[in-house]
């Protein structure tokens, strides 16, 4: 602990001093030093990340590296409010039995065999991650996988890894899949429809590639599952095991969520129709829906806000965004962007590759929100160099989502799923048991994205 603390202080100070010697101003160097300390703080002391964010932000204000007005501006309150609204809606869906209903659907797969299970579990994991965030979706998928594997008496680990890899891939498909999706959408001007037209097809292509890799990689566990299905009969008994009483509340909740999704999906059209600022509908729709939910369920409204909203995480995001904004405010990112463009010889393809692989490798170690928050102001600074930003935004999105597949700590979904596995089955995943399959899927899918972004004019 002490060693990590000393390393954190030394590395951050060294980065600050090096920046100062490379021509950055005092405030730029201070912003780099403090932001690095926050990033390293999340890496070394995950449970203390909020205290690092509080302290770092206070130092930025006291040293006048940023003023209060800009700190609030850069904290991306609109993104935080969007996430609050979505968390309330997910709380409603959970209460109404939506996720339990989904679990029971998975357990009722008709004409069950191992390959069918592999494909369906991957597809549902990816699609559910597209509509609710990946951390929420993985809990229910893992619940289904563990119940399923318990029934057929097979090791759940391979199937759990399959569902987590598919979840991380699926989270890149829409704005809603991952906090980085909405963050990128709000900063880049890309709409939900852009995500559906450009990100969703690549996500499906990568999911297909991942399923093929996983089918070969896990041929033995899949063969074992097939044997067990034949031995124990199909899943008729399993289907009877869990039920969700169909209630009016579930239907109403689904209708509210469906209408919200429609408005979010078509937000740009509504904004143009009603002459609203870009992203107004995107960012306010979850607030409108959750406001209505809290009026409908007024006796539970306080619970939705206090228990279903992850305030700890959201506060961390808010301060992290403000710290990353300080890099832009001081002009540090302009200098970084100019140097990065020089390294890439101002070649868009090379720059796209750099952003894609840097974010993939970075998010395999760091929380992807931390990484994306650091990259956003740099990408914004490329605008002044007349560089087309669109492929860079996609590179950041896919790198941030797919990098999480490489290591078992690469994304919150991985950590949540493995935590449940350990608690339920007493199985502790080893680093390398995850790493080789994660690396294979991570590298292949990132290569596919790289090829699409570089060779398809559609993404320029």
């Amino acid at each position: 602990m002490l060693k990590k603390g000393i390393s954190l202080v030394l590395i951050s100070l060294a980065l600050g001093f090096i920046s100062r010697n490379f021509g950055f101003s005092f405030h730029q160097a201070a912003a780099i030093c403090i932001f690095s300390a926050s990033i390293l703080g999340t890496l070394f002391f995950w449970n203390f990340r909020l205290s690092f964010a509080f302290l770092g932000t206070s130092i930025l204000l006291i040293t006048r590296t940023i003023d209060l007005e800009h700190l609030i501006k850069f904290s991306s309150l609109e993104v935080i409010l969007f996430l609050v609204g979505m968390m309330v809606l997910v709380g409603l869906l959970k209460d109404s039995g939506f996720f339990a209903w989904l679990v029971s659907l998975i357990l009722r797969i008709p004409r069950l065999n191992a390959n069918r299970f592999l494909v369906i579990i991957s597809l549902i994991s990816a699609l559910l991650a597209c509509v609710v965030d990946e951390v929420t979706s993985i809990i229910f998928i893992v619940a289904a996988v563990i119940e399923f594997c318990d029934y057929f008496e097979v090791d759940p680990s391979p199937f759990l890894i399959i569902s987590v890899l598919a979840t991380n891939i699926g989270s890149s498909g829409t704005v809603l899949g991952n906090p980085i999706g909405v963050l990128i959408a709000s900063k880049s001007g890309l709409t939900f429809e852009d995500f559906i037209v450009k990100a969703f097809p690549i996500m499906l292509l990568c999911l297909g590639a991942a399923i093929l890799i996983l089918k070969v990689w896990y041929r033995k566990p899949l063969g074992e599952l097939d044997r067990k299905i034949k031995e124990l009969g199909s899943n008729e008994m399993l289907a009877k095991l869990i039920s969700v009483p169909p209630e009016k509340e579930l239907k109403i909740s689904l209708a509210i969520f469906g209408v919200t999704l429609i408005f979010i999906a078509l937000h740009r059209r509504f904004e143009l129709l009603w002459h609203l600022e870009p992203n107004t509908i995107l960012l306010t729709m979850p607030l409108i829906s959750s406001g209505l939910v809290m009026a409908w369920k007024w006796e539970k409204a306080r619970d939705y806000i206090e228990k279903d909203v992850e305030w700890w995480t959201l506060l961390f995001f808010l301060l992290l965004f403000a710290q990353a904004g300080t890099l832009k405010y001081t002009g540090a990112t302009d200098v970084l962007a100019t140097n990065l463009a020089k390294v890439a010889s101002n070649n868009l393809g090379a720059l796209t590759g750099i952003i894609l692989w840097a974010s993939t490798i970075g998010s395999s170690i760091l929380d992807n929100v931390v990484l994306v928050a650091a990259f956003i102001p740099i990408i914004q600074s490329f605008q002044s160099l007349n560089i087309n930003l669109q492929p860079l935004w996609w590179a950041l999105l896919f790198g941030g989502c797919f990098g999480g597949n490489i290591t078992l700590v690469g994304s919150t979904a991985n950590i949540v799923a493995l935590g449940i596995l350990e608690k339920e089955k007493n199985i502790r995943m080893t680093f390398f048991r995850w790493f080789w399959v994660g690396l294979s899927v991570g590298v292949v899918t990132t290569c596919l994205v790289w090829a699409a972004l570089v060779f398809l004019p559609f993404y320029r």
Binding site: A143, E147, S243
Partner: protein, 150 residues
Amino acid sequence: MKVREVMSCEVKTVPAQMSVQEALQLLFKLEISGLPVVNELGVLAGMFTEKDVLNFILPSYIHKVGRFVYTENPKSIRNKFSQLDKIKVEKIMRREVVTINEDATLCEAARLMLTQKARRVPVVDKTRKISGIVARCDVLRALAKEAQVL
């Protein structure tokens, strides 16, 4: 009136190393829902209750899944129940235990029971060795007596 005057001095405890199966049998035998857990030095280490056993045998995601309804008892519950003789009490017991000392007032005991949602509070000395246990009914009975209501 002080806690010392109303507490039960004969306290049944379970050793932290006892199997959950044996500890559960003890709860059934004594017809109570929980017992303090002590380590090899006799120091309070935690609290073992029926709720801890339920927490262990049901899936940890049950709270998050929402309306998950089992129409038949799944194999996993039977499997987990069969593991109870291999698991030690210290693995599933609650480690954060509300305690009180002998000289505290009944009002303080009542406050702890209400705010910390505790049915019974172990009475410990400075070394955290158990000298007694005070239950909600002990406190209420004594307070009523003090007020001469009953």
